[in-house]
Symmetry: C2
Subunit: 234 residues, 2 copies
């Protein structure tokens, strides 16, 4: 019996990456989940990634440190920059981490090559992408091209495939997809600025997008939040 | 007076990156040196990078940890894989670290974006490249394209430039160039498998290429080696 092909799946512990992991499982891949601990303000995301990986029955979950706080430039890693909570604004928000997805995909590529995996999954999302340049389809396509020049596999004529199955889905569609695949969203965390217990703030862009999506689907978001939310416009 | 443009320069502490740093200085850039401590077997390289950065008068030297030993697949980071010492062979050697240059450039890109630098320097070398796929000109060109899709600067219509000024030089030409620019090669380290005192083994591919180049230039290599070397064929 041929064994399943391996896939490396970037797993942040959020709603998108949990759904992406479930899609890779549905497609028959043997799962290798990769979580980068990059100097986020909080550990809640990494704990969530552990719970999601366990539930999905991954073959291995690698948690790797890379200190992006040292390079600066983002409200997500800097103590002295506030996470914006005034609602979605035009342009690239201060929570953008310079070149984060490039760095994450590069490390995933290295692990994939070492494992003999040729498929990488990432839960980026071009519609509700909140203004990040490295969530666009053109970025994913350019990375795939790079991957095949950067590696031993590329030299040997094999191809890496970068899967971004959420790319053209809205947040509402992602929630529906995840629910259909049995994702336990209670295990996921999305907030950019949770409290010490890992409860969401309800006000950052990530909370707003997530809560609005669950509201539209008509399902209660099972993740914990700091306050009872009546209705937060996205 | 306009200030000099900033450049992020990848600095391993070897002969190539020291020469690359000197070239960036010659071109008038304000230097930000980046050294990645990625789980190499030895610390000699990082110490060398510190000495080289100090001598070149860099504005800042950032040493950042990223544990590539955790992703496996290379004799340079694994304790249980031997560094080959039998002389240069065809194909990609076991010292290849999966996707290393992609990961290094990605982190350099993030720092550059955060600093407001638009120029990245890397001392890769396509001629004496020892068989690594991620030293080829096509790889560098693909990364430059990716950089401009991956970043805020790219969205704003600015351009990143990836400089690989050693790309088409032989090791002999690099040594000559470095000597002409006053690089103190005594501060650099190249060996893949140095002893506890940081002295080169003379037998790994990196030592062989370096020693042969100094021999051809007719200058004694001022770096320390474990044994007196008469003549080691490359």
């Amino acid at each position: 019996m041929a064994s399943s092909p391996k896939a490396v799946v970037l797993l942040s512990g959020g709603l998108d990456s949990a759904t992406c992991l479930a899609l890779a499982a549905r497609d028959g891949f043997d799962l290798y989940a990769l979580t980068l601990r990059y100097g986020q303000r909080h550990a809640a995301e990494v704990d969530a990634a552990r719970r999601v990986a366990e539930r999905q029955g991954v073959r291995r979950h690698l948690i790797l440190d890379v200190d992006l706080a040292a390079i600066g430039g983002s409200a997500l890693t800097a103590i002295d920059l506030a996470v914006p909570k005034g609602g979605l604004a035009a342009g690239i928000p201060s929570t953008y981490v310079p070149a984060r997805n490039t760095i994450f995909l590069a490390i995933a590529l290295g692990w994939a090559e070492s494992l003999g995996a040729r498929d990488l999954f990432m839960g980026v999302n071009a519609i509700d992408y909140s203004g990040y340049p490295d969530c666009r389809p053109a970025f994913i396509a350019a990375f795939e091209q790079l991957a095949n020049l950067a590696t031993r596999a590329g030299v040997d004529g094999e191809r890496f495939r970068i899967h971004a199955p959420l790319q053209h889905l809205t947040k509402v569609e992602i929630v529906r997809q995840g629910l259909a695949l049995g994702v336990d969203f209670a295990r996921t965390r999305t907030c950019y600025d949770p409290d010490a217990d890992g409860r969401g703030c309800c006000l950052c862009d990530a909370c707003r997008l997530r809560l609005a999506a669950f509201a539209e689907v008509g399902v209660a978001d099972p993740a914990p939040y700091q306050d009872l939310v009546i209705a937060v416009p996205p």
